[in-house]
């Protein structure tokens, strides 16, 4: 039960983390559109409150809707870009690494040898921007599916083929 010192990173092979590949630039636009869509209900609610308030005249009109609009604009301008910046992936010969999250950062590696099946999905928004989501499913309970959104459509399909080829080669 002796307390060993922390592992020496240099003593292990390939512990160094490579450079992350950025996602398709359109993904930032898609995120921005999605944030805008999410802000709309809040804006409507704020407008309704504003109307109610106008009859009661409790606080100067324009305060609620104005502040909500301001927050929404700030979020739409700032957050998608930062989220885009925080995301990335790294594909090597036998594994895929997916990094995401601003506050809650998650850095997942899935070896191709453990992939059960592969999805390439496109929502309406993603189709408009020509991007796709690649999802790898594993048998583990944690990370049963690892999604990598914001890949170029072509690239997502190529990656799927690469991973599939790897699986077939391994199991033959």
């Amino acid at each position: 039960m002796d307390h060993a010192p922390a592992l020496d990173a240099a003593a292990l092979p390939i512990a160094q983390e490579g450079e992350l590949t950025k996602l398709h630039p359109n993904y930032a636009h898609a995120l921005r559109v999605r944030t805008t869509l999410m802000a709309i209900p809040f804006l409507i609610a704020a407008l309704v409150l504003e109307l109610v308030n106008r009859e009661e005249a409790l606080i100067p009109s324009g305060i609620i809707a104005g502040s909500v609009l301001l927050i929404a604009i700030l979020l739409i301008l700032r957050i998608p870009a930062r989220r885009y910046g925080a995301r990335g992936y790294q594909m090597s010969a036998d594994r895929l690494r997916v990094v995401r999250g601003l506050l809650f950062r998650s850095d997942t590696v899935v070896p191709f040898g453990r992939v059960q099946h592969i999805d390439v999905d496109q929502g309406p928004l993603e189709r408009f921007f020509g991007i796709a989501t690649l999802t790898l499913h594993t048998a583990g309970n944690h990370n049963a599916s690892v999604a990598l959104p914001g890949l170029g459509e072509e690239l997502a399909r190529e990656m799927r083929e690469t991973i599939r080829a790897h699986i077939r080669r391994e199991s033959l």
């Binding site: 292990l12 092979p13 998650s106 899935v110 453990r114 594993t138 048998a139 583990g140 309970n141 944690h142």
Partner: protein, 522 residues
């Protein structure tokens, strides 16, 4: 044996009985409620009779329309009256076959046969009911077919597929005496929840409103007056008697529940895997192939740990009824657990295991965060309550800090050439062990605080369970991930369960030994 077969005809009677049992309650409710005035007893009998007739009819049609086929590659079940459903499960995907006999079927000598595939949502294949002999034969057949399929490509199993059903060595058994001791530790006041539910039900069918505060107040006032009259000694005596009564009820419930669940618990190991039988009224019989065991969890309880009792579960894709891992030793001493673990091919951590503690920064953060909860109560109490009372939350915060400091000693993790270990909890420590080779993914997760303070949670993808190491320093987490991935990537999923995987396992650990030497050296 390739033509469609039906389940045992007695299933019709059992299905009808289940419907009738449901109807008794509603019939009784009608009989004792105010519905229908004087005619209500006839109404109740009518409802009961209708339920019996409909239940029998439905059960018969269901039985008539459900057939199963034992094919060459798979087992198929077709069912449904108007819309037909056919499900096919290939032999090699069946994780285990369990036989379950609850009280009524058991009287008739029937069992429910369940095929577990590990598919999500619990939508597996079940045949209700077959005769016990048929069930046993089906299970053996499935196992033989599966072995044939696996043996065919590699031909690595000479003669193994034709071996008869062997009984195997008894690895672990619960004697009635030990079962009773186990029951004592399973102290439970669940009976009061049941009583509450019954009262609620009584509330619905009788005119007593249990949520009526006045009723209770009146009752308390009457009883309270009586209690006040009997003097202080009798009051204390009464309170003590009440507590003892509570304890007795708790112990009796615990023993009864344990005996019902684990009576005749026996775990055997044969060439093919582990077999567990347990239960007093509902007897279950589960077979778990050894190579499907993904990991082990050793748990314990607050009190029983002081007496050296622990429990052992196998983590695998197949699970017990409540979605929990298969318990293979609910109440055992450390040496018995070590023996079962060894039989499953796992090595328990010992003196040579190099444990690593969680980051000290995580300990500090946890202490500060937990203490922060008490800040607002302290301020509020200091302002609004008499002087001195605010010391209570401060005391609690200090106590919490002490507990956290101590708990940190127990939050540890280790890795060696073949296994990963994680352990946490200071009053009742829980230990998890998993095979490196059988992990599926590695995630390094950091919350906002952890990002700034340089530690992380390492989540390992384990089929059928969770495996997490908390508060690992970030550099160590990365090296750990690299090491685990190196092992995982070397073998494809399709080869994990293949015959001879053990051999590969050893070859791998040999290949990894240089790596682990590095580990041990640091």
């Amino acid at each position: 044996m390739n033509e469609p077969q039906r389940t045992a005809p007695l299933s019709v009677a059992l299905g009808a009985l289940a419907t009738v049992r449901g109807a008794i309650i509603s019939a009784a409710a009608i009989a004792f409620s105010g519905v229908g005035g004087g005619e209500r007893f006839w109404l109740a009998i009518g409802v009961f009779a209708a339920a019996a007739v409909i239940g029998t009819g439905v059960a018969f049609v269901k039985w008539r329309r459900l057939t199963y086929t034992i094919g060459d590659q798979d087992i198929r079940v077709e069912s449904g009256l108007l819309s037909r459903a056919a499900r096919s499960v290939p032999y090699e995907r069946i994780q285990d076959v369990s036989l379950e006999a609850s009280l009524l079927p058991r009287i008739f000598g029937l069992v429910a046969v369940k095929f577990e595939t590990g598919a999500g949502g619990g939508e597996d294949l079940a045949l209700q009911y077959l005769t016990a002999a048929q069930g046993e034969a089906l299970r053996r057949l499935v196992r033989e077919r599966r072995d044939e399929e696996q043996a065919a490509p590699g031909a690595a199993h000479p003669g193994a597929a034709t071996a008869p059903e062997e009984e195997g060595d008894v690895l672990y058994a619960l004697t009635p005496g030990r079962l009773f001791t186990f029951g004592l530790f399973e102290f439970s006041l669940a009976v009061f929840a049941v009583l509450g539910g019954l009262l609620q039900y009584a509330d619905n069918v009788t005119s007593i409103d249990i949520w009526d505060v006045d009723l209770w107040r009146r009752w308390l006032a009457e009883e309270g007056a009586a209690v006040a009259n009997i003097g202080p000694y009798a009051q204390v005596l009464g309170a003590v008697a009440g507590l003892i009564g509570l304890a007795v009820i708790g112990v009796v419930t615990g023993v009864a529940r344990t005996v019902l669940r684990d009576w005749g618990f026996i775990l055997t190991r044969s060439a093919r895997g582990f077999r567990r039988q347990r239960g007093l009224l509902t007897r279950t019989d589960v077979v778990m192939p050894a190579h499907r065991v993904q990991g082990l969890v050793i748990g314990t309880g607050l009190v029983r740990y002081r007496f050296g009792w622990q429990s052992l579960s196998f983590v695998s894709l197949a699970q017990d009824a409540e979605g929990e891992s298969h318990v293979v030793a609910p109440f055992a001493k450390a040496d018995e657990i070590a023996r079962i673990a060894a039989a499953a091919g796992f090595r328990l951590p010992d003196a040579s295991t190099t444990w690593h503690r969680a980051s000290k920064r995580q300990r500090t953060d946890k202490i500060l965060l937990d203490a922060a909860i008490f800040v607002i109560p302290t301020i509020a109490m200091a302002i609004f309550l008499p002087f001195g009372l605010f010391l209570i939350p401060i005391g609690l915060a200090v106590l919490g800090a002490g507990v956290n400091l101590y708990a940190w000693e127990f939050r540890r993790h280790a890795i060696d050439a073949t296994y990963v270990y994680a352990s946490h909890g200071f009053l009742s420590p829980t230990q998890a062990i998993a095979t490196r080779l059988k992990l599926h993914s590695v995630e390094i997760w950091q919350g906002p605080l952890a990002q700034r303070r340089g530690y992380a949670t390492v989540n390992l993808g384990l089929a059928g369970g969770q495996f997490a190491m908390h508060g690992v320093p970030i550099d160590e987490a990365r090296s750990l991930r690299a090491a685990v991935l190196e092992t995982i990537a070397a073998t494809d999923y399709s080869r994990l369960d293949a015959p001879g995987a053990e051999g590969e396992d050893q070859a791998l650990s040999a290949a990894q030994s240089g790596l682990s030497a590095n580990f041990l050296a640091t």
